[in-house]
């Protein structure tokens, strides 16, 4: 066993950290105030990221990516967690699911996404189908050799900037012993396709500059060429490519927690009350001890889950443990750090209140904490026949 980073990994971490500190952090407060990332700023981050060779670094070399391992990519994501979600969106990491592109789809979607010429988004969630993906009401029906999509998706991140969206729709129902089960298919839908509209979503307490959108499909007609993967193979595409997003959430939470902790630690050492640094009071020093312990634990849990994926070991349970623990750890760390700042922690002069708000969504998206516990407990109990 060896717990150190390699020389390359150290350099990757150091480059991404410097990038976040100089290219991302100075713009965070403005983006938070505006509620969106100005186009020029997003483009500039994207351009610099491309020049650095980090754009789409999660993709294999044969399609133009950097071919990073899951572990290396997790380190990148962890450093990005130190920056605002809205801005690091432009430090492009297209959805891995695009690797399912075949034939002409590669030239039209996969390669431009990897080159940073096209931005993508992923749409599964609907007003009536969140955790229960299979319950989706969006349908794609065969009509005159085409597919006709109808339905609504909501909470879709990055859609406002997206050139195309990977959309899941129900394409049939199987009658099973446990009742009817929908078959899903993934489609690539270009912005501007007739019948497809992207509308602003809700104002969220977390990641204010990173809006969510509502997507509507009103008799949106798509040729067969837009099917990603195979018809009725939506779940396979999802399982093959989307497990990694839970890891990125975990890694992001660890990076964010470190940044938050660093500020709280410094404040505890510098802020004096009752004639001494507040960190000397156990009431402040002990929470710091708990925080760093939990951050380290989440860090190792996440890195080891990524390592398992690279090694081809079973990792579904471990990835869920990492996502669950890291996101819940971040909630505790942001709260305890804010507390150390006293009243100033609540004020938007400092980033603490933003970290505290941002942390809330991490326990909800990419599978709620309850869904992670469900995955973990089923993984443990199913083999026992329970």
């Amino acid at each position: 066993m060896h717990f150190g980073l390699t020389g390359e990994q150290e350099m990757i971490v150091s480059t991404v950290r410097s990038f976040v500190e100089t290219e991302i952090q100075p713009h965070e407060a403005e983006v938070e105030r505006l509620g969106h990332v100005p186009q020029e700023l997003g483009d500039e981050i994207r351009r610099k990221c491309i020049a650095l060779g980090f754009y789409a670094c999660n993709f294999p070399e044969e399609v133009g990516g950097a071919g990073l391992s899951h572990l290396d990519f997790t380190l990148v994501e962890r450093e990005l967690g130190r920056g605002s979600m809205a801005l690091v969106h432009f430090f492009g990491r297209p959805q891995n699911i695009l690797m399912a592109c075949e034939g002409a789809q590669r030239e039209k979607y996969l390669l431009p996404a990897v080159r940073g010429e096209k931005l993508d988004a992923l749409a599964m969630t609907e007003p009536d189908a969140g955790s229960d993906v299979r319950g989706m009401k969006c349908t794609a029906v065969r009509q005159g050799g085409d597919w006709v999509l109808n339905g609504t998706k909501h909470f879709i991140s990055g859609a406002e900037h997206a050139d195309f969206v990977t959309v899941f729709a129900a394409t049939g129902v199987d009658e099973t012993a446990k009742g009817p089960k929908k078959r899903l298919t993934a489609f690539l839908v270009d912005r501007g396709t007739p019948g497809f509209a992207i509308r602003p979503g809700y104002a969220s307490v977390s990641h204010r500059g990173y809006p969510n959108s509502i997507l509507t499909f009103d008799d949106c007609r798509l040729p067969d060429a837009q099917v990603l993967g195979v018809v009725d193979g939506g779940f396979d595409v999802m399982n093959d490519w989307l497990h990694g997003t839970r890891l990125t959430v975990a890694a992001f939470c660890v990076g964010r927690a470190r940044r938050c902790f660093d500020l709280a630690l410094k404040y505890a050492a510098e802020r004096h009350q009752f004639g001494q640094p507040i960190g000397r009071f156990q009431g402040v020093g002990f929470p710091l001890a708990d925080m760093v312990t939990e951050i380290d634990a989440a860090d190792w849990l996440t890195l080891s889950a990524a390592w398992r994926v690279d090694e081809g070991l079973p990792s579904n349970r471990e990835i869920s443990s990492a996502k669950l623990y890291a996101s819940e750890m971040l909630a505790r760390v942001t709260d305890a750090s804010l507390q150390i700042f006293g009243g100033m922690g609540l004020m938007d002069d400092l980033p603490m209140e933003r970290f505290w708000r941002d942390a809330r969504v991490e326990r909800i998206w990419d599978g709620t904490s309850e869904i992670q516990r469900h995955i973990i407990s089923r993984d443990l109990l199913r083999p026992l026949g329970a």
Partner: protein, 252 residues
């Protein structure tokens, strides 16, 4: 033309330096170490010369502990072509003195025959500001210190220097030793492809004995102390009060 860039592994500029309890120096055990920031600027300038077609090869050299390998890998990841590590001590607290470093660099120069040496004006650990100058003396080459601009024109270098009174531009004959200042350029981040390539670039390991240089210390550190903590200041109402206070203190 080859460009030689000496790089030093020093305590990271973000680290809060702590003096060792026995006053023998600064505590370097388990502290983050990085490339001396001025050397990063020198590496950047050398790579830019290569990109502009003024240099063919950039060679980074480091002298010190074995861990300076990491510093050299950083230089390689930025874009240097190859590296030479001279392992001169195995104790992280031993600083190889400027004269020994200059002698070793002179030996490397004799072997490599570079047309230009770009070095940091000083290392941020003990701020000696001596190696470049000593190297120029040992080689008999032209020297231009504190560069804020470097232009290569044929067999001359036009160097703008940051001097106390402002800027001074001089023309020196190559080969030359140029020590670089803060405003010369902004070093690049190591790009991901270059980080991946760095491992495959040659890194040669040597010892001072290979060059017949004695690195035994000639200086003795008598004592290291923390700078005096600044006393609390006073807030003044306006400029008039400030001037009065300064007069009172005999400062003006």
């Amino acid at each position: 033309m080859k460009v030689l860039v000496p790089v030093k592994r020093v305590i990271d500029y973000n680290v809060k330096v702590r003096v060792k309890a026995d006053g023998s120096g600064v505590d370097l055990a388990n502290v983050k170490m990085s490339m001396n920031p001025f050397d990063e600027i020198a590496v950047e300038e050398a790579i830019r010369l290569k990109e502009a077609g003024k240099a063919e090869e950039v060679i980074a050299v480091s002298i010190g502990v074995k861990q300076a390998q990491e510093t050299l890998r950083t230089a390689l990841a930025m874009g240097a072509d190859r590296a030479i590590l001279i392992v001169a001590t195995d104790d992280v607290h031993t600083d190889i003195e400027p004269l020994a470093v200059a002698k070793l660099l002179k030996a490397v120069i004799d072997e490599e025959q570079p047309g230009l040496v770009l070095c940091g004006k000083q290392a941020i650990d003990n701020d000696m500001n001596a190696t470049g100058q000593m190297l120029a003396a040992l080689t008999g080459w032209s020297q231009a210190t504190f560069a804020s601009e470097v232009k290569i024109e044929g067999d001359h270098a036009i160097v703008t220097r940051e001097v106390d009174g402002g800027l001074q531009t001089i023309k020196v004959t190559m080969p030359a030793i140029v020590s670089v200042d803060l405003r010369l350029n902004e070093p690049r981040y190591a790009s991901l492809p270059n980080i991946m390539k760095a491992k495959k670039k040659p890194l040669e390991e040597k010892t001072p004995a290979d060059y017949g240089v004695d690195v035994a210390p000639r200086l003795q550190v008598v004592k290291t102390t923390e700078p005096e903590t600044r006393k609390a200041g006073v807030m003044v109402r306006d400029v008039d009060t400030l001037v009065a206070k300064l007069k009172e203190a005999g400062a003006i």
